[in-house]
């Protein structure tokens, strides 16, 4: 059998899982997880089958390109005259890379949820939603038509809405879900306009064909300038990947159950934006100015989020902001043209951030749904597995060699430096330090020192069941090894080998020649620098939040923390209040927007409708006025007639004169 016909199966399995569970899940009670989990397991197996074939190059060449991959045309969706949208799929190396992340983490999260959600009343609903999400996400990475991508774009938005608002009794959850959906809609607006621009320019919505036409130098003049098109597409990416200023929804999204945060808001959905830009790379490459915008927004988001993460006390929120910051890295990478690095970081980050979130979930679970780190501490003894795995994750994200994060992040920094984006490198460098700091602040507050919560809880704290710990362990492995697996040898890494054909056109457009990697030169220096700054960050955090690392006993210094925060009050408050973005939005959309809306309604009632009613009233009252001439007295009537007669005679005499 030919493998491409498996592609629709990848979609049908989770969809089926969703439909069946939605229909009968309620009756399955605690068994409701079987169908979804097995569906995803199957998906994982099939996906790996495809991925291996694609990446090892055993797959056939795709039509009209020298990339290996599978393409599958399914059916015609919209046949509207000269506007036709076909639903088709393609698995090329880029998609393959995402498939690895999506299916693997998806599977593990499913398993993890069995344990995490076991006490929830609507267990079945959760798994149904998860499958719906998997369907949408797979559709997103597989689709080969802009509009189908958009469909998936909105569907992941929907499932994210459902999952954030899963505990709908919490008003805050409901509001967070709404906020996430609406903010995403802003990005989607740009995306859909970009799609229209692409169609108007090229007359097709097939991703590869359209890009080919757009970037072919022969037909330069388009009705819609290319840079506008590119930026519109990027707007979509910003929405989904929560880049500034559309980042506000992601932290609130933590209202959802932790597995959701791990899967959707760390590992997969938020990467969609990165994937989209990478997918459209020649488009951006054709107009370098747009890439600067991407880089700027990316790196700005990175430092902004990092600065906020420094002071947050909610464990999940810290992770959320770190996710923002890491996504910022990826966009910076895309912006400077380090395509491979971006995807590399996407993959590694997917794993270790998934790990961190699941770990935090395990922590929260163990301290009875407490998320405030100030009420934690010293948990290392009680939940060693969680502690160990999370420590790995933290080291990975901090960029300590040889863990995964080191390779990807370092590649980003190095590339940006070498490609001449010094400012990107500089900011990234700082962010690296901050990252190390806030991660180990988290570790310190959570696992080290003394427990600061109520005694009663302390006694009940216990390690999570195996369904939760096993996924942690399984995720720890790539967090350690993925970097070495994909990132070596330096310069011509495995990953770049896979992705090279995808980004070839972009590189040629930008006139890039891959220069040799100098370990004992500039690159080495950069590596040392970044490792150093990471170490410094860890050290500071260690110093401040205490640890018994390596047997050295140093107590935490809360007073120093307060002292430092007192020394830079503005920065501290800014960080604590997330730079007041939520307040700004509240002002803009709730207060001002609300007033505008009420003004419009008032206008509608009083002016538009009021005019209508006024006309009616005017007519009636004029009738009431005219009534008066009917006095009831014959002589008045007669006088009226006489006057009428005179007027009549007068007018006739005038007319006669004509």
């Amino acid at each position: 059998m030919n493998l491409e016909s498996l592609i629709p199966v990848l979609l049908l399995l989770p969809m089926g899982g969703f439909l069946i569970t939605a229909a009968i899940g309620r009756r399955l009670h605690k068994q409701a997880h079987w169908i979804p989990v097995l569906a995803i397991l199957a998906v994982w197996v099939l996906a790996m089958l495809l991925v291996i074939n694609v990446l090892t190059g055993t797959a056939p060449l795709l039509a009209g390109s020298e990339t290996h991959g599978y393409a599958f045309a399914w059916f015609t969706w919209i046949p509207a005259g000269d506007f036709v949208v076909n639903v088709g799929f393609v698995v090329d190396p880029l998609t393959a890379c995402l498939l690895i992340v999506v299916t693997t983490i998806g599977l593990l999260v499913h398993v993890y949820s069995i344990g995490y959600m076991s006490h929830d009343a609507s267990y079945w609903r959760f798994f149904a939603y998860l499958n719906l999400f998997m369907f949408s996400m797979l559709l997103l990475v597989l689709a080969d038509s802009w509009l189908v991508v958009f469909v998936a774009w909105e569907l992941v938005g929907l499932s994210s809405y459902l999952l954030i608002g899963f505990w709908f009794r919490k008003r805050s959850a409901a509001l967070a879900a709404k906020k996430a959906f609406i903010v995403n809609r802003v990005g989607d607006l740009g995306f859909i306009l970009g799609i229209m621009a692409i169609f108007v320019n090229t007359g097709t919505l097939d991703i590869r064909d359209s890009i080919h036409i757009l970037t072919s130098p022969t037909l330069a003049a388009f009705p819609i300038p290319l840079w506008i098109t590119a930026l519109l597409i990027f707007t979509g990416a910003m929405g989904k990947s929560a880049q500034f200023p559309l980042h506000v929804w992601l932290p609130d999204a933590m209202e959802g159950p932790t597995p959701v945060s791990a899967l959707i808001h760390a590992a997969t959905m938020v990467n969609a934006g990165v994937y989209l830009v990478a997918r459209a790379n020649p488009l951006f490459a054709a107009v370098p100015s747009t890439m600067v915008v991407v880089a700027a927004i990316g790196i700005f988001t990175a430092i902004l989020a990092a600065s906020i993460a420094m002071t947050q006390t909610d464990i999940k929120r810290v992770l959320a902001y770190s996710t923002l910051s890491q996504l910022g890295y990826m966009f910076a990478a895309l912006g400077v043209g380090a395509w491979t690095a971006a995807i590399f970081h996407l993959m590694t980050h997917g794993f270790f951030k998934g790990l961190l979130f699941l770990g935090s979930g395990s922590v929260i679970h163990s301290v009875h749904e407490e998320q405030d780190m100030r009420k934690m501490g010293g948990l290392a003894k009680k939940i060693p597995i969680t502690y160990a795995t999370m420590l790995i994750g933290s080291l990975a994200i901090a960029g300590i060699p040889p863990l995964a994060g080191f390779f990807s992040k370092d590649e980003i920094l190095g590339e940006s430096f070498k490609l001449g984006f010094l400012w990107v490198w500089a900011i990234g460098f700082v962010v690296a330090g901050l990252t190390a700091f806030y991660m180990f602040r988290l570790m310190g507050l959570t696992f080290w020192g003394e427990f600061r919560g109520p005694k009663a809880i302390w006694d009940k704290i216990h390690e999570s069941p195996w369904v939760m710990t096993v996924p942690l362990i399984l995720l720890a492995i790539p967090s350690i090894g993925l970097g070495m697996a994909l990132g070596l040898p330096f310069g011509s890494s495995t990953l770049s080998g896979w992705l090279e054909p995808i980004f070839r056109q972009a590189d040629t457009l930008m006139g890039r020649a891959a220069e040799p990697f100098a370990l004992f030169g500039i690159d080495g220096a950069l590596i040392i620098l970044s490792v150093a700054v990471a170490a410094a960050g860890i050290a500071v955090a260690w110093r401040l939040f205490g640890t018994n690392l390596l047997g050295l006993r140093i107590k935490g210094r809360p007073e120093t923390v307060t002292a430092m925060s007192a020394r830079a009050p503005f920065l501290y408050r800014a960080s604590l209040n997330k730079w007041w973005f939520d307040d700004l939005n509240h002002l803009l959309f709730m207060v001002i927007g609300g007033r505008i809306a009420y003004a419009a309604w008032w206008f509608d009632r009083e002016v538009v409708d009021g005019t209508v009613n006024a006309i009616g009233r005017g007519t009636v009252s004029s009738g009431r006025g005219l009534r008066r001439i009917q006095t009831g007295r014959v002589q008045n009537y007669a006088l009226g007639i006489a006057i009428g007669l005179i007027v009549m005679a007068g007018s006739y005499l005038v007319l006669a004169g004509r």
């Binding site: 002589q635 006088l639 006489a642 006057i643 007669l645 005179i646 005679a649 007068g650 005499l653």
Partner: protein, 198 residues
């Protein structure tokens, strides 16, 4: 006693002056007797008409109307339609006026106002009717009537009856129907209902 005499004296005075004028016309201005007669009759007609619409006592109005119609009859004779003049006397003075007087008798009551005879709008009415008069007058004077002759022509009874029974026989018949309908209606309305208010 005096209050009864005064109006009679007044009437005589009026007739006297008018006749005097007429006489003067003939004697002094040397105009034809016809003109004098016409002037007399016209003047009396108008004066009587004015009295009809202005006098307080409605019975006197009725009498004044009789005078007015009388003069009109005279004019008809003068103008050369003696038969119509006769009809005027018979129909109006003989029938209608008497009918009106009866009606007046029937509807006179103690509380019928002796003083206030005019509408509040009398002034406006006066203006309006003056304008009407002026309009008609001017229109008449501004008009030349096609094939009108400078002198009157007698309408012989023969011609009249011929017209009446040849080209106007249908109206003649219909008018009888009309009168029949009117009589039926009048009778129905005027006869007292046993149940009705007395």
């Amino acid at each position: 006693m005096v209050r009864k005499v005064v109006p009679l004296l007044l009437a005589m005075a009026v007739i006297g002056t008018v006749t005097g004028f007429a006489g003067a016309m003939v004697v002094v201005l040397g105009q034809s007797w016809d003109d004098a007669l016409f002037f007399m009759l016209a003047a009396l007609t108008l004066i009587a008409g004015l009295l009809v619409v202005t006098m307080k006592d409605i019975i006197r109005c009725g009498l004044a109307m009789i005078v007015c119609f009388g003069c009109l009859a005279g004019i008809y004779v003068l103008i050369g339609s003696p038969l119509v003049g006769a009809a005027e006397v018979i129909v109006y003075i003989g029938a209608i006026s008497v009918l009106v007087l009866f009606a007046i008798m029937l509807t006179q009551t103690k509380d019928a106002p002796a003083t206030l005879v005019f509408q509040t709008q009398a002034g406006a009415a006066a203006i309006a009717s003056t304008i009407i008069a002026i309009v008609i007058g001017l229109a008449v004077l501004a008009t030349t009537w096609p094939n009108a002759t400078p002198q009157r022509t007698e309408v012989t009874t023969v011609a009249l009856s011929k017209a009446l029974f040849s080209e106007f026989v249908l109206p003649f018949e219909i008018v009888s129907v009309l009168l029949l309908a009117a009589v039926i209606g009048g009778v129905f309305l005027a006869k007292r209902e046993p149940g009705g208010p007395s």
